[in-house]
């Protein structure tokens, strides 16, 4: 560990590179990424497609392997962290299993971990309530709207109480109104649980509204262009998005994105 790494770092990446081999030659998905995420941070990764933001999240989750550089999750390798079930992952789509009711979907990780039926039922009920889906446990996924399905998938990621939540454009496919609502709920959840959240998005307002740290990324090769600390208060009503402080940060993000394009 380097001197500036504080002891409560959840994720620590140094000189991280990831190259995919393709028929047109190597693709540099990530190049020299240095990043530290502390406990309790809400970090957004923003950038155009092909900037490696999803790849970075997948490296943290041990779903991709870096070609060079080092990364630790909770002080361990990503693989060890995955095997310790250190994180919950929310995908772009709800990815619910169609043949399981909502409560059995949320209970899936608990089932795999071999948690007792009684505790499973209790935890499923608690997490469903946390995302505002109490009373929908016995429904099948197709009986729920897209927004509710995505909330169920968040509940599933929360069900086993990992301290780290990795979210890959979870609200990308939803309409603006549902999205605003879920953003509010997610912030409240973050405040309530104190989890560390890594959130991939391509929406500037979403990134600024949600996070206390915004990682601006740029493509070809995928790298970190800027890291912006937000000084917005923790309590964020939706209309904070019209405030001066909010617009200033959004401006910085936009500038960072534009610079990355050059």
């Amino acid at each position: 560990m380097t001197a500036e790494t504080s002891s409560n770092a959840v994720i620590n990446a140094n000189g991280l590179c990831l190259t995919f081999d393709s028929s047109d030659g190597p693709v540099h998905a990530l190049k020299d990424v240095d990043l530290q995420i502390d406990k309790g941070d809400f970090v957004s990764f923003i950038g155009p497609s092909g900037c490696g933001k999803t790849t970075l999240l997948r490296v943290i989750a041990d779903l991709e392997h870096p070609t060079r550089g080092s990364i630790t999750v909770n002080g361990m390798t990503p693989e060890q962290a995955r095997l310790e079930r250190a994180y919950g992952y929310v995908f772009q789509a709800p990815a619910l299993l169609a043949w399981r009711s909502i409560e059995r979907n949320v209970g899936l990780p608990l089932e795999i971990m071999g948690i007792s039926a009684a505790e499973k039922a209790e935890r499923v009920a608690r997490t469903l309530e946390l995302v505002g889906l109490d009373g929908f446990g016995r429904k099948f996924p197709w009986q729920l709207s897209g927004g509710m399905q995505q909330r169920a998938s968040i509940a599933r990621a929360l069900a086993f109480d990992a301290d780290l939540l990795l979210m890959d454009e979870p609200f990308g496919a939803l309409d603006e109104i549902v999205r605003d609502h879920l953003n509010e709920q997610l912030l409240e959840l973050w405040r309530k649980t104190g989890k560390t959240i890594c959130f991939v998005t391509h929406s500037i307002p979403e990134a600024v509204y949600l996070s206390n740290k915004i990682v601006v990324m740029s493509p070809r090769p995928g790298r970190v262009a800027d890291i912006i600390e937000s000084n917005l208060p923790d309590e964020r009503p939706l209309d904070i998005r019209e405030s001066k402080g909010f617009l200033e940060i959004a401006q910085r993000v936009r500038a960072g994105l534009r610079q990355g394009q050059l």
Binding site: Y87, Y89, F91, W99, R100, L108, I112
Partner: protein, 291 residues
């Protein structure tokens, strides 16, 4: 009421059209022979005599639908089930080897599909052989199977069922392999983030995902199981079964018997497919896979 009419009407229209064409052909195809008979006997005949008589021949080239219906009635309802002339007796024999063959074919198909999906070596080595097996005409291989198995003392139900198995395992393998591989990469990643074991991945993701594919395959499998059972009955010396009825009918020029066996086989296939379809519907509905 209206919904029922809307469902029945298209089917009834097609059936009516088939009947009209069928009766037309009955007269047309049987007419030359009937006319010859009139001339030999020196009978003056009118068009309506011809129409009536061509539909009432003992051994017509093409029997009329009502002749087949009467034959089926006489050989099912009016015959004892134990009678060698009962179509139910013969149908039951065909049905039992169809069902046994279908069951074995489905089990074999699922087993092969699982080993193909779970084992790369099996995938590479088995699949070409499975496909090759279906390029051999069943009519060529069925007598071999029967003769070979007879010579080792296996007779009766099992050899016929094995021909059904030979045909029916194929759609099950193909459908099941596709079904077991149908989960989204996202779902597989999801299971990976939970540190799911290979067994858990199989039981909790791959297998449930494959169920709709399995049922679709089983519908095809049960129909060709019946074909296999009938083909299997042809070389056994025409002892029993719908296949035997077909063969015996063609030996003695009993076209009405042939057609009644054919129609019975078609009805049996339709009923079997409907039963599989119903089980599929109920299962998928209970699984939440059908709305």
């Amino acid at each position: 009421m209206n919904a029922a009419v809307a469902r029945v009407f298209p089917i009834a229209t097609v059936v009516a059209a088939i009947m009209i064409v069928w009766y037309g052909f009955t007269v047309y195809l049987n007419a030359p022979w009937q006319i010859e008979r009139y001339e030999k006997a020196g009978i003056e005949w009118q068009m309506e005599d011809l129409v009536r008589d061509t539909m009432a021949l003992d051994r017509p080239i093409l029997p009329a639908p009502h002749q087949i219906a009467i034959e089926i009635w006489q050989t099912t309802v009016e015959k004892k089930i134990t009678s060698k002339r009962s179509l139910i007796y013969h149908g039951g024999i065909t049905l039992s080897s169809t069902l046994l063959g279908f069951l074995m074919g489905t089990v074999l198909g699922i087993g092969l599909a699982v080993s193909i999906v779970e084992n790369r070596a099996m995938d590479k080595s088995l699949m070409p052989w499975i496909i090759t097996s279906q390029t051999i005409p069943i009519l060529a291989i069925a007598p071999m199977i029967i003769v070979v198995l007879n010579s080792v003392g296996l007779t009766g139900l099992l050899p016929k069922a094995l021909i059904s198995t030979y045909l029916s395992f194929f759609p099950v393998v193909v459908g099941m392999v596709k079904g077991l591989r149908s989960p989204d990469p996202m779902h597989i990643d999801l299971m990976r983030t939970y540190k799911a074991s290979r067994m858990q991945l199989f039981w909790k993701l791959r297998l449930p995902a494959s169920v709709p594919f399995l049922f679709a395959s089983m519908k095809v499998a049960i129909a060709i199981s019946l074909v296999g059972a009938i083909v299997g009955e042809l070389p056994t010396g025409a002892i029993a079964g719908l296949g035997a009825r077909l063969l015996a009918g063609s030996y003695y020029g009993q076209t009405i018997q042939i057609w009644s066996a054919l129609i019975s086989a078609a009805c049996m296939a339709a009923i079997l497919i409907s039963i599989v379809g119903l089980i599929s519907h109920i299962t998928l509905k209970r699984m939440g896979l059908q709305q």
